[in-house]
């Protein structure tokens, strides 16, 4: 589409792809790479305009600038980093347990037809009873402790993780296990070499969903249980009517999730399922 300076001279055959000519379009191309930011900018603008035009009472809505200064104060005092650390530690522990229990259980159910028939109704039943609905009971059993928070994260994650691991095993083509059996593989070997890696894309979907659900359950848990964490920050700010801290905390929740997804979950998928050609990004 470009590079036609020396047209006509047949002797000069191009030795490579046509060179790109710098135009104003190519100069602003880097902006396109940031197009994911546009909705955020728009939302921020709408928020600011609403606040500017409406001029609401400070117990209803505050300006973006006020939220920013509240966040800066929280960072200065070292509260934000401490709370983020606490929430992430709780999440990490819950995820370890949830994935450690959910994935093997899902594989087991996916591989065994009669076990699946026996367990599906009860799994669907508990899946519909949300983790938050368990909070009153959990508090009665474990009190306002870390155990309650872990339990609600694990419970909430368990179902998406388990169901997706189960589906992952079931969608592995029969031909792959048959072919592996003809190489002399026994049942366990087929599970290890075919079903486990074959279910991986689905397992990753489940883990991603599960961590997302677990993240929300964690915040709900921290609302009630307290003892630090981002959920506690947001809920506690309410008692003092600090709208700026509530909104600031919510922003941190969303941003933290984006970072988690980009820095941890996506690279794992890139290294496995994308490399194997099972998923296209």
């Amino acid at each position: 589409m470009s590079a036609s300076e020396t047209a006509g001279s047949l002797a000069e055959r191009p030795t490579g792809p046509p060179k790109e000519v710098t135009t104003w379009k190519t100069r602003i191309r880097w902006i396109y790479k940031l197009k994911g930011l546009t909705p955020f900018v728009a939302a921020l603008l709408i928020w600011w305009l609403t606040w500017e035009i409406w001029q609401p009472h400070e117990r209803i809505l505050v300006s973006p600038a006020e939220v920013w200064s509240a966040l800066v104060a929280l960072v200065r005092e070292g509260i934000l980093s401490a709370y983020i650390e606490q929430s992430l530690k709780r999440l990490a522990f819950g995820v370890m347990v949830g994935v450690g229990v959910g994935v093997p259980l899902g594989w087991l159910i996916g591989l065994n037809r009669s076990l699946a028939d026996a367990s599906e109704p009860v799994l669907r039943f508990f899946n519909s009873v949300s983790g938050i609905a368990w909070l009153p009971l959990l508090i009665l059993w474990f009190g306002f402790t870390e155990r309650t928070i872990t339990a609600i994260i694990v419970y909430t994650m368990l179902f998406p993780v388990l169901f997706n691991a189960m589906i992952g095993v079931r969608t592995v083509p029969d031909r792959l296990s048959q072919a592996t059996r003809t190489l002399g593989a026994g049942r366990l070997r087929v599970v290890r070499d075919v079903y486990m890696p074959g279910s991986f894309p689905s397992v990753m979907t489940g883990v991603r969903l599960g961590i997302g659900f677990g993240w929300r359950a964690l915040i709900a848990g921290e609302f009630v249980v307290g003892g630090g964490g981002l959920g506690f920050l947001i809920f506690n700010a309410r008692t003092q009517g600090l709208i700026s801290e509530i909104i600031g905390g919510m922003l941190v929740l969303g941003l933290l999730w984006l970072a988690l997804d980009r820095l941890i979950l996506q690279p794992i998928e890139q290294y496995t399922t994308v490399r194997w050609g099972l998923v296209r990004l």
Binding site: R175, T182, L183, G184, G198, W276
Partner: protein, 278 residues
């Protein structure tokens, strides 16, 4: 010799055939319709060591069922299927299978796919490397050892499948339309290579195909099957030595062309009868 099928005594008489199928019948319940399908009816077949037998027949004639029985994926309803005089009970590395669809593992590189069977049989690493290197060269995959299957063309993927099967060095190779999904030019090359490879490694081959030309080109003998329930309608020996066969020879040789016509006639009759039956 143990006969777990509890049927007839093994047919290990004078010259033991590599594969012996004796009075084999099979019924199965179709998952779609829930109806009982009579797939195979009184099939008798003997394949001698080193023989290349090709099977043609209309769709649903039970040829894949027969392969599944020989591979050990399913148990026949009636009759016996023996390998080297022993009843088939389960899949094993003595019978390699190459499927039509892609059946190599997407998460393993070319190297790791080919060496998979050797890993399972606990062949030491150095010997494994040696054998895989030899095979990648034999099937023309040098330089692609670290590629993943999705980075390869259809023909190359089937080369990986063939190399993987050959790696365990089975005496018997079962092939279910292995070149059906490969483009026409590549298919011609793969067929010639398979001919050479099976001769050089002295394999006994059971090869299913839809293409009569392919059946005649590759086979020592062509087995034509009838429409459901599958019976063996005729066995046609292919004239000449398959050592000398290339596609060039094939297109200029009257005997071979005559053989193609004969088998085509058999298959055409079947297709006609099937139309009327429907």
């Amino acid at each position: 010799m143990t006969d777990s099928n509890g049927g007839r005594a093994g047919a290990a008489s004078a010259a033991p055939a590599t594969i012996t199928v004796d009075d084999l019948s099979h019924w199965f319940v179709s998952e779609q319709s829930g109806q009982t399908v009579h797939a195979l009816d009184q099939v008798d077949l003997a394949i001698q060591p080193g023989e290349f037998v090709t099977v043609v027949g209309p769709s649903g004639c039970g040829k894949s069922t027969l392969l599944n029985i020989l591979a050990g994926f399913i148990k026949p309803s009636y009759g016996t299927a023996l390998v080297n005089g022993r009843p088939i009970t389960k899949p094993g590395p003595d019978r390699g299978v190459v499927f039509q669809e892609l059946a190599i593992l997407p998460w393993r590189t070319v190297y790791r796919n080919i060496s998979h069977g050797l890993e399972i049989q606990k062949v030491p690493k150095t010997e494994r490397d040696e054998r895989v290197a030899g095979l990648t060269q034999l099937v023309g995959l040098e330089g692609f050892e670290n590629h993943y299957p999705h980075q390869l063309s259809g023909g190359m993927k089937q080369r990986v499948a063939v190399a993987r099967t050959w790696a365990s060095d089975p005496d018997i190779i079962l092939m279910d339309e292995p070149f059906a999904a490969v483009d026409a030019m590549t298919r011609l090359t793969l067929q010639e290579e398979l001919n050479r490879l099976t001769l050089a490694t002295k394999k006994t081959v059971f090869f299913i195909t839809h293409s009569v030309e392919e059946a005649v080109f590759l086979g020592d003998r062509v087995v034509a099957m009838s429409a459901r329930p599958g019976r063996i309608k005729a066995e046609v020996p292919v004239p000449g030595d398959r050592r000398d066969r290339t596609w060039e020879v094939m297109s200029n040789n009257q005997d071979l062309q005559g053989c193609v016509e004969e088998v085509l006639g058999l298959v055409r009759d079947e297709a006609g009868e099937q139309e009327i039956a429907h």
